[in-house]
């Protein structure tokens, strides 16, 4: 892990930087010693996508367009097995925080469906404690957020694709958040050239300017959006207000950031990838699991919490999994 004193410095630095008041915090998981460090991401405007001149640019990354993002908190790290297992096992549900204490949401934890136990080890022997959880479907990642919301009273969800890229760039417009070329990528990311064919513990590399670790590499991260190759072509040049493509089909949906299996150019801030039916190819059961992608050991997720939570009646749409 990142040394504590450095993290403290970073925290102090950030809180100074974010002088307008919103603070980082730690979300405790009731009934455990575990917590999730949430970093405040100030709202702002950024250029989404990449220019055709960027090395590794794909057609789906253009045209570039200006996007407005509202402030939110984002988890400092990718969700680890330590946390994800709590959701799989559901043995801490009885410690749900009374909704009068934290009242962003109105949910009964026992009404939230839980992931089925996989038949085989979904970490593929790559490690669990401190390592990112993988192979979950987007549904499972969404339900983790709903469950965490019910447990804590705070509204959590996956980031939109736009929020994800905004957070990854952390104010930069270069191919990577640390520069235009992949020359220094190994200082910031786990990818094909340095991962030793496995994912690595979260938080071992340098964070980006906003303190987020492993945005480039380690595991690709689920977002809320449907993947549309031409998504950016129908956007306005400016003032796209918190864009988000609500999925209507299971596939493809967007993962971001690239992974331990990818070559450098797939880790760029603008790189997009759509999920695929193939990610369940080796699931030997019918119906195939709603909860596990047997062939996607490169996919994980991290959570966000909007600074201004949506109204309770709207919240459901972020936890729904439309499949038509």
């Amino acid at each position: 892990m990142f040394p504590d004193f450095l993290r403290l410095l970073l925290f102090l630095n950030l809180t100074t930087y974010l002088s307008f008041g919103q603070q980082n915090y730690k979300q405790q998981l009731p009934g455990t010693e575990k917590s999730i460090a949430m970093l405040f991401i100030p709202g702002g405007t950024f250029t989404m996508g990449s220019a055709p001149t960027e090395k590794g640019h794909f057609a789906d990354e253009g045209p570039q367009h200006q996007v407005i993002i509202d402030p939110f908190w984002m988890a400092e790290f990718e969700t680890t097995w330590d946390l994800y297992t709590l959701f799989m096992e559901r043995t801490i549900d009885k410690y749900q925080i009374n909704s009068s204490l934290a009242n962003e949401v109105d949910l009964e934890v026992d009404a939230i469906s839980g992931a089925t136990t996989p038949y085989t080890d979904m970490s593929f022997g790559m490690g669990t404690d401190g390592y990112p959880a993988i192979c979950m479907t987007q549904l499972a990642a969404i339900k983790f957020c709903e469950w965490l919301s019910a447990m804590t009273g705070n509204f959590y969800r996956l980031p939109t694709e736009a929020e994800w890229e905004y957070a990854c760039r952390a104010g930069t417009s270069s191919a990577y958040s640390f520069g235009e070329t992949s020359e220094n990528l190994s200082e910031y990311a786990w990818f094909k050239d340095n991962s030793d064919d496995t994912y690595q513990k979260v938080g071992l590399k340098k964070p980006n300017q906003w303190g987020l670790f492993d945005m480039h590499g380690n595991v690709s991260e689920w977002t809320l959006d449907a993947y549309e190759i031409k998504a950016y072509r129908i956007r306005k040049k400016n003032n796209n207000d918190n864009p988000y493509i609500v999925p209507t089909k299971i596939y493809p949906r967007v993962v971001r950031g690239g992974s331990w299996m990818d070559r450098a150019s797939r880790l760029r801030s603008a790189t997009r990838r759509g999920s695929s039916k193939k990610w369940k190819q080796r699931d030997p059961q019918i119906p195939k699991s709603l909860w596990w992608h047997t062939d996607a050991p490169f996919v994980g997720f991290r959570i966000v919490r909007p600074a201004k939570p949506p109204k309770i009646e709207i919240q459901k749409k972020y936890w729904n999994y439309s499949t038509n």
């Binding site: 085989t120 593929f124 022997g125 030997p284 019918i286 062939d295």
Partner: protein
């Protein structure tokens, strides 16, 4: 408790005699499978769980002219759920329908379904397999069956006997030890056979994870129905996880060494998963398998949440070592020699390859005979279970000739299952040093 074990012993005695009679019956050899050319192939599914439904989809995908004509399961609701899943998988691409009258439930349903088919999929809990397989081969059907192929040595012997008959009749039998159909394993096995790590002297095989599903007892269920629903936790149906899952890894050790173990000794127990919902199986086993050439394989399987997860096989040879999981071969100094290029989601799906090969062999008049290895790897895992349950060293030969007979040969919904709980709802748990080798 004492009374139960007595009645169980009596039960074993009587049924063993009956089984002996079946095994020595003269072989009926008046059938030879014809090449099935372009004929439409009729398929029956026996055992309509998730795996059976998956295997059916693969069979229907492997060959364009296969029709699912019959389904059988102990439970009607499983048949309906399975059919729905298969239909939804194909959607508009392929119309799947099984006539109401060809959906059979109950303990003898398998016969009615098998009668209607050319090819059968046997995917019930493994305890039933020997008896279903016997019926399929006796009636000249090609077979895909899931591993393991029995839960006791009586069943293993029956399957071995039927293996010979299937071969003589030129019937194709694929056993769901799918690593044999997986590109990575096939490629690496060739390299081992070519001597890249020399002779295998030792190895470690693992199936350690958090465990599998548990089905809660429901009001109104008979003991038999409860056990059939929660079958993973009852030995007559499942054979313990060292057999039901870990067979894959033990089988890889057998395959790569090119032999079956001579003997086994080990330890195990149930320390964490030990509630009333968890029947009679252990939550961990550690077994040392010794082979005729002196190679020793350490086998570990564990179903305990929050512990190290690993499903893998590793071997050390006289010239180097290999890890099957990541496909890496190293020399004796630990220098990297080779990595199998794993392409997630792109390598052929071994579960599909099993059926592609099965149907193409049926069409061309070939013979795939996975049965004998399936039976012997099943026995290897049973041998491991016998070693951990008794705490004794047991030889393969002893296991092969064991009179242990967990699976009743015939059942009705009125039958009493072989394991019954005491007045507190607890089942009798095997105890090393006390549990006898039978």
């Amino acid at each position: 408790m004492k009374k139960q074990s007595n009645s169980r012993r009596n039960f074993i005695k009587t049924t063993t005699l009956a089984t002996g009679a079946v095994i020595t019956a003269p072989l009926q050899m008046n059938f030879m499978a014809p090449g099935l050319g372009n004929k439409k192939l009729k398929l029956a599914l026996v055992g309509c769980g998730g795996r059976g439904s998956g295997a059916t989809v693969q069979a229907l995908t492997a060959d364009p002219d296969v029709e699912l004509v019959a389904m059988a399961d102990a439970f009607h609701d499983r048949i309906e759920k399975s059919l729905k899943g298969i239909q939804e998988h194909f959607g508009e691409d392929k119309k799947i329908d099984v006539k109401e009258k060809n959906r059979f439930d109950g303990f003898d349903a398998y016969k009615k379904a098998i009668d209607l088919a050319d090819v059968v999929i046997l995917t019930t809990p493994p305890g039933f397999r020997p008896y279903h397989f016997e019926y399929a081969i006796t009636n000249d059907k090609h077979v895909f069956m899931e591993k393991p192929v029995a839960t006791d040595p009586v069943g293993v012997r029956k399957v071995l006997e039927m293996a010979k008959i299937a071969k003589a009749k030129k019937l194709n039998v694929v056993v769901g030890l799918q690593r044999h159909y997986q590109s990575k394993y096939i490629d690496l096995k060739k390299r081992i056979d070519n001597g890249v790590i020399g002779q295998i002297r030792s190895g470690q095989v693992y199936w350690n994870d958090a465990g599998v599903w548990v089905k809660k007892r429901k009001a109104g269920q008979s003991e038999l129905e409860y056990q059939m629903r929660n079958w993973y936790y009852f030995n007559w149906l499942c054979g313990d996880h060292i057999l039901e899952q870990h067979i894959h890894n033990i089988d890889v050790a057998n395959w790569f060494i090119g032999d079956y173990p001579l003997s086994a000794q080990g330890m195990g127990g149930r320390q964490v998963r030990n509630g009333k919902d968890h029947g009679e199986i252990f939550d961990h086993h550690f077994v040392e398998f010794t082979y005729a050439n002196g190679a020793v394989i350490s086998s570990q399987c564990r179903h305990i949440p929050g512990t190290m997860s690993r499903v893998d096989e590793v071997f050390q040879g006289t010239k180097g070592s290999i890890t099957l999981g990541n496909g890496v071969i190293k020399d004796l100094e630990g220098n990297h020699q080779f990595s199998y290029p794993i392409k997630w989601g792109e390598d052929p799906n071994p579960y599909q390859v099993e059926h592609d090969k099965l149907f193409s062999s049926i069409r061309s008049g070939g013979v795939i005979s996975d049965t004998e290895n399936g039976a012997k790897s099943t026995l290897s895992a049973i041998l491991g279970r016998m070693a951990t349950y008794t705490g004794k060293k047991i030889t393969f030969e002893e296991a092969l000739n064991s009179q242990l007979h967990l699976m009743p040969e015939s059942l009705t919904w009125d039958s009493t299952p072989p394991s019954i709980p005491d007045s507190n709802g607890n089942y009798s748990i095997p105890t090393p040093g006390k549990t006898k080798f039978i």
